[in-house]
Symmetry: C4
């Protein structure tokens, strides 16, 4: 069982970069496919690339599921990985892992968790809006009564949806388009939730810092107390020894 | 009075499963009623099942109200139970209690409160959208100027409403439909609130863990201090005794 | 200056009930005025009642401003009171203070702050939606191209606005209507914010309670430590005295 | 490197007021330009003023970037400053810094962080809505199929967008207008997030204050414990000295 966990960890680490590259290639091929609508050989090649990318993700998922020691638990905990395989819309989200690798960004933001959350949220929002726009355009434009027919309209619709503004000047009419819309709404609610939560964490911390009189006791303060107790004990022990030594002279003197 | 509280606790425990089953049967019968629109005997049977389910919930409510020691207080604290009896839309929410019973899910998520909150929120969202779609479809489709006339449209409308996107491409026109919509909006705001709150709790905790220098003092650290104090006291007591013993020899010696 | 603060406190306490009554009378008169649209004497009487209620609020505001020791500061801190005088929409909000007075409710909820927040939020939401519906109906129905022409439509519009769903099937077209809408949106955002914040507070507390190993040190635990320290000091003092007493015999004995 | 940081700090301090004035002049000129739509010389003068304001911001940005010790880091951390230069919509936000300077406001609110957050949020919201209304009006009205053609409509659209209500009765149709809308939505989500976060911080604090039994240990309580430990140590030291002194007599007496 340890070997399997070991194997999984190695597999994940080794495939980190290759899978991110596959996600990038998928995104590029999908973009060209939707935006340029090529025909002939170009179309066939792009379809093959998209299919190959899907195959790579599927194989990665199946191998990891097969190797996982507790399959049921792994399955429940990796539902998002299944979604990445099943839904093309979510596949490029794997690219988000690349964000970690930009040294410059990391350096500027520092290791602070809130800084990292902000960068991830911004990158996720941009990627989500872009991919959702491609997907909705592909799903909708073939329908006669569709209103989302250009990439510009698709991006505009994605932005109004992800922010939950929802003017309704553009709205999907196909079932595929509505499933994409539902996923986008869930993404939007999560992004808004993260923005609010990060702000809340920041305000709570600032208020706590300001409220000097009621500052919460820190582990450091407890540590100082501990050090003083230790010193006190040493002092008492010394006093015992002093006494023991100090006693002897009189008894010896008598 | 203790007997009554006792009786209530037993009643609740015994009826946990049967009431969840009734809620499930209600949901199934209601779904067939709305989606298949049967006629003749099938229709009568389904109506009877729905009515019987309602009766069970009503009797359960009345018995518990009758037995409750402080009726006024019980009434105010169980307004949601009254709503479950009064509003068919809320009745299947009783099914949510079943979520607890899926051992596999529980095992995968662990006992962590945030994990449980996520599962409940997801299950509530799915159930809410499904039941609201059934209810709005039943309420609207008989009206001539209604725009929500198929189950697909109803689901789409429910999703746009629960996420507060509200495109307005579909909107209820009947009073019943609008009451359902208002309940769905309240549900949506609660769900979004829970998502944000869970994220906030997670970020606050992560920030606190990271901020090692200002880590909040834990009960465990206080316990360690306490243990040291106890040891110190033992040391002092021992020193007193040593002194008491050590003293006697000289006085005795003199 | 103390006399003035004293006078203000008395003024506020004495006028608590009368002003709530005036707000109630205002709401009743305003409701009849908008919903029944009476003519002749009834109309004149209602207008007089509404005007009198406004006068009472205005006099109350002016007296309190005149008496306030630091007028500038009082003015900034009581902008909401000015808004209550200036905007009929906000005037019935004074009724919210009555919520405190329902003993039964208080008893059922207990003194817990989150319980009180929930009750206030629910009461505010209902009152806000009702008053906004009246105000928007009065503002819009006289215009030819208005879509909000019945009270039912007005309530429906208020609910979709306060939840920020905003279908757009009904929208105000007059300037007055849009000002009411803007106030309602601000109210809606505040209400949603309170719902989310209350949930966040609840989840943060539950997570903290669950995380027993890292439970935050409480003042109570510190108190216990303090008590132990005091006992320790007493023990040391006693030991000193014992020694002082124990010493004398030998010196006396010699 | 220290000289550069020094220079930057001085530059920022010296230019605080002048840049706020330039932002104010920009806002005034831009308002006249959009609302009065002057022609002839007035138009040329206003365009020159707007261009000059932009130049000032651009020069300020370039100087600070040129002087910054770590350019890459500075660039990432001051993306907002770049946005202020690049986007006229954001330029008047510099005026927000003036809020600090209103002594009366500061005095009334006190130094409390939540009070300051509320004032900033309100001022930002008003400024954002006003500038977005000007910008959208300028972007849209030249288009034939635009629905936002008067300043009143523009303000109404801005309010429905910033609150994420989004009726859809007015929606931008030009690319520029949609970019403005996207920025406004981001601003709206941030404002709503701040409102919710401030409320959450307030409720968390109130709940903590109320929950007296489980009150979190404060630094002050730890300080008291520390003081007691110090006194205890003094007592023990004294006891050691007393013993040392008290010992000598008997030995001396013998």
């Amino acid at each position: 069982m340890l070997d399997r966990t070991d194997f999984l960890a190695k597999w994940d680490k080794r495939l980190e970069w290759p899978l991110a590259c596959v996600a990038g290639i998928f995104l590029a091929a999908y973009s060209v496919q939707v935006l340029a609508q090529p025909s002939g050989i170009a179309r066939a090649v792009l379809s093959a690339v998209v299919a190959a990318a899907w195959l790579v993700f599927a194989v990665d998922y199946i191998v990891r599921l097969a190797v996982a020691p507790e399959k049921g638990r792994w399955f429940v905990r990796h539902l998002l990985d299944l979604a990445v395989v099943a839904l093309p819309l979510l596949r490029p989200l794997r690219l988000l892992r690349l964000v970690i690798l930009f040294g410059a960004l990391q350096k500027a933001v520092g290791g602070a968790i809130r800084g990292r959350v902000v960068i991830y949220t911004a990158a996720s929002a941009v990627l989500l809006i872009y991919v959702a726009s491609l997907a909705i355009l592909e799903a909708e434009r073939s329908r006669g009564d569709a209103v989302i027919t250009t990439f510009g309209d698709a991006v505009w619709w994605s932005i109004t949806t992800v922010t939950t503004v929802g003017y309704g000047d553009y709205a999907p009419v196909t079932t595929t388009g509505r499933i994409i819309a539902a996923l986008l709404m869930i993404g939007g609610i999560s992004l808004i939730g993260i923005v609010t939560a990060t702000l809340a964490s920041w305000i709570v911390q600032r208020v706590a810092q300001e409220d000097a009189a009621n500052q919460v006791a820190t582990g450091q303060q407890i540590q100082q107390l501990h050090d003083e107790l230790v010193e006190l004990r040493i002092a008492i022990n010394r006093s015992q020894m002093v006494r023991a030594e100090g006693f002897e002279p009189p008894t010896a003197g008598v």
